[in-house]
Amino acid sequence: MSSIKVKSGYVRALDLKHGHVEMAHGSGGRATAQLIEQLFVAAFDNAILRLLNDQACFPSSGGRMVMSTDSHVITPLFFPGGNIGSLSVHGTINDIAMSGAQPRYLAASFILEEGFPLIDLKRIVDSMAEAARNAKVPIVTGDTKVVERGSGDGVFITTTGLGWVPDGIDISAHRASPGDKILVSGFLGDHGVAVMAQRENLSFDTTIESDSAPLHELVAHMITVVPDIHALRDPTRGGLATALNEIARQSSVGMLVQEEYLPIRESVNAACEFLGLDPLYIANEGKLIAICSPADAENLLTAMQAHPLGKHAAIIGEVIEDTHCFIQMQTRFGGRRIVDWLNGEQLPRIC
């Protein structure tokens, strides 16, 4: 296409195949409106969003509400099993769900880098829309900004969620008490390894996919069977080890985990052996940790295993008294060790 002088204010049709994000798309003018209508509203389509107001207005059902927000930055943007779009929907849904609440509405805010291909943006937005539809949690409001080339990393997405907690549910990470059982909902470390495999300087081949998934339906099912779940947490960044340490500190307890009961795929273990990483510190995006009284543990386990996202759930250990809040692990080998807080980001090692 040759460069044609266009009248100021004139906006060409959005070229979703060959176009790129331009500064104008964030200026608040017609280009912004066009991007919002032709891309975001078209994909996320729902009655509230269609009104094109700057806010979403909806009825509330009373009771306790839960709100959570999460910013998503990830390299690479596309990985086996998902992309930054689906991840940003699942991440916030899961944060809401970990209180026992049912997520109802999402807001999404985009920071786009000038020059980012619209075709990739469309893929991301479409997968967000699909994730939201499948989860039955609509994206009802949002915002878009564009930063100059070099000031961003393609796309950053912040999602905020709102949900309602059913009556009688009191789930919080300070409620773990000695004797409680610790459960996880399935294989650990899939997301982190799938993402790492895509980074060019580590290049290894694997069929492992990210476990990115919305957990609210699993949680809803769990609380119908065991309403008195004490604590829930999704072990994302920092993996199982970090999540357990956080709960232990919030509840001022220790934990004893049995290595042999940890569900970890052999291929995830193998990737960790290659890179000198510990699977306990690798991120998950579709797993949860549940803590409940010993009397409820077997029922909760059966309930989790009956749900597709909890098929490989397992009881992995118990809460113990410990003023130091140590997470100890009985190794498969028969010894014991601490599972400490992660120090810094896990980096591949050669020694």
Binding site: S203, D205, T207, S267, N269, E273, F274
Partner: protein, 76 residues
């Protein structure tokens, strides 16, 4: 220490390299430091290099030695 792990050579590629497989994780490694590697061999991999061919007979011998110890113990 030096992090190195045994992986199975799946196929030889160009430039004296090979693809190794460890439980579904595949990686290309250099064979510049070893000789006469064939597909099916296990090699010790360190920083992207095969350092040595693993001797399966010796591995069996070591494992048999552990097992012997356990049967010995059962008699006590």
């Amino acid at each position: 220490m030096c992090l190195a792990i045994p992986a199975c050579v799946e196929k030889l590629t160009t430039d004296n390299h090979a693809i190794v497989n460890l439980s579904g994780i595949r990686k290309t490694v250099s064979l510049a430091l070893v000789e006469n590697i064939q597909p099916g061999d296990y090699v010790i991999v360190h920083v992207g290099f095969a350092l040595q061919r693993l001797d399966p007979a010796e591995a069996e011998r070591t494992l048999a030695f552990f097992a012997e110890m356990s049967s010995l113990d059962n008699q006590i």
